[in-house]
Amino acid sequence: MKFIKALSLSKSRERKILSRLGLILRYVVLIAISFVFLFPLLKMLSLSFMTVEDVIAPDVMWVPSVFSLNNFRVSILVMDYWQVLFNSFWVSALFAVLQTAVSALTGYAFARYDFRFKKTLFVLLIVSFILPVQLLTAAHQIIFSSLGDILGMSFYGTLYPQISMALLGQGINSAILIIIFQSFFKKIPKDLYEAANIDGANTMQVFWHITVKISLTIILVVFLFSFVWNWNEDFVTNVFLSGGVDLLTGKLNSFETLFGNQAGGSDRISEAYESAATLLSILPLLVIYLFTQRKFVQGIESVGVTGQ
């Protein structure tokens, strides 16, 4: 009897140790992976504080011997940082507001109503997401150029092409935004709409007073996504906006040439400046993300609902 008891005790202890080991292993693996994830950011951070001597020195790997803010100072000067930051902010916010509003309406129509061609249109929505931006932009080029000729003005270097695309629901990743809205709006109980209908509310009143007011958080999430994507986008922006409003992404892309004119250093040295500049350009996003990370994850989770 005693023997059996001891045996079972040792077994349970064994199991405990095993599960503890599993947990430790899990932490080790996760920490290793997160290090790989954060590696570029950490490298960027350490490089951007380094002086020229530290960058060249072979024995300085991570921690600079002197923390210098010189790189940041130079990048702020070269990029005309504050002005460009302000531009990036209002342009991204404008596109994001337009995209969010149109996506909400479209998502609402898909979620609430049953109509002819609903499936076809939904397939077209997904197709419009899959078709590469490069394909569509080649044709947009002709459309906007000819339209400019007809109206006697040039659309290049202005915000109009992108504004019109955002307004007509074809901005960057608009399809995903529509799908996020659609999957969230589908969860709103139909009884609420019925009740509003009985009380004599019209379509826009129903949309505003029920759908929008219930889903304020998801609207914020979509706005944030749209804002971030517009901030980082630079393919369409390069085609239509180059020479117009200076944005951070454009400035960063031309940073190397800009920098070559102003200082003319070797490859390794300009790496430090570039790191500082990149860090400066993603800093606003980083701050936004740290404050709203829960909402971001939540938003992506609701995409998965339609994933099935």
Partner: protein, 346 residues
């Protein structure tokens, strides 16, 4: 002068009248007008709600796709009178396939898809499995793994590839003993491995959204299935292969397609620079840009079809067919029954 002015005014007025009387306008106003209590929405309401998107779909997606097909068979040149289109049949395609810069980039694009997509699918699945259970600091890890979604841009990717490139001690595997051994015996394997490690960080930065989608898919699997499997004596390995993977396949398909799109819109794509250059040079033949873009799209779509073929849910089709047969049987039985009943009545 005055006559033309009034005529112009008349035309404007009639246009305004026509717009006011048109059905679309009425429907638009209908959205804001008061409903009679209990009245249902008009069947055209959804179309009016999605009108901006529909117009955008036609102008910015459907027409452009048609235009690209048209342009790829033409020499498109910008003249002072607008664009001129000269029919050249397949010359643009011939040019594309004889231009080594293009077809080599296309090949390396395909190569990239075959490396990136499976690695993204597998890595994000493993990370999602690790993150699925509850444990301390879970949210912290999630915040870290989701960070790239916010920061992913050409600038950051550029910076990653320059700072964590070959001259980096952390990923310098080429000097390790095992690697040189592999290199000596199986050179192509060594090439593959060094390529993998070189781009591992970049690939990992694409796994942010896939991880969350996988976690979401894992949560949707019914917990009682796990319990049933455990009671039947299934171990973790069997649960993974027989329960989790078949159930997660549809999520994996969504993730795969999403990743194909994501990988394509950044400059990790070997074709990115070439296409951008061609599209931005309106002075030269835009027909070639269209041809490049068309070929690129066709390759992408073929790859997506391959993904659908691999990851499609066979079970769903089988189940649907079974269900269909069963309902048909039941229906026929019922019909027979009711006919018999009807016969009895007469």
């Amino acid at each position: 002068m005055k006559k033309t002015l009034t005529r112009g005014w008349d035309a404007m007025a009639s246009l305004y009248d026509r717009i006011r009387k048109s059905s679309v306008w009425k429907r638009m106003r209908g959205l804001f007008s008061r409903n009679k209590p209990g009245k249902r929405d008009n069947p055209t309401t959804p179309y009016v709600l999605m009108l901006p998107w529909l117009i955008g779909l036609v102008i910015f997606v459907i027409i452009p796709v048609g235009m690209i097909f048209f342009m790829s068979f033409h020499d498109v040149l910008k003249t002072p009178q607008g664009f001129s289109f000269d029919f050249v049949s397949f010359e643009n395609f011939l040019f594309a396939f004889t231009n080594p810069i293009f077809y080599q980039s296309l090949l390396s694009y395909v190569n990239m898809l075959f490396v990136y997509i499976p690695v993204i699918l597998i890595m994000s699945f493993l990370i999602a499995l690790l993150l699925n259970n509850d444990f301390k600091f879970r949210t912290t890890f999630r915040v870290i793994f989701f960070l790239p979604v916010v920061l992913l841009s050409n600038a950051t990717l550029n910076n990653i590839s320059t700072t964590s490139g070959e001259n980096n001690a952390f990923l310098n595997i080429e000097n390790t003993f095992i690697f040189s051994m592999i290199d000596a015996y199986v050179p192509f394997m060594a090439d593959f491995l060094s390529g993998m490690f070189g781009v591992l960080i970049v690939i990992l930065w694409f796994t942010g959204v896939p991880i969350v989608l996988y976690i979401n898919g894992l949560k949707k699997i019914d917990q009682s299935i796990y319990e049933a499997a455990k009671i039947d004596g299934g171990n973790a390995w069997q649960i993974l292969w027989l329960i989790i993977i078949p159930n997660i396949k549809s999520t994996a398909l969504v993730i795969a397609i999403f990743s194909v799109v994501q990988v394509g819109i950044f400059n990790t794509n070997p074709l990115y620079g070439l296409l951008q250059e061609q599209i931005m040079m309106t002075a030269t033949n835009l027909g070639i840009a269209a041809t490049y873009a068309l070929l690129y799209t066709i390759v992408t779509l073929l790859f997506i079809m391959l993904l659908i073929f691999i990851l499609r849910d066979k079970d769903i089709v089988v189940m649907a067919r079974k269900e269909y047969n069963r309902t048909r049987e039941l229906y026929e039985k019922q019909k027979k029954h009711s006919e018999e009943a009807a016969d009895e009545v007469y």
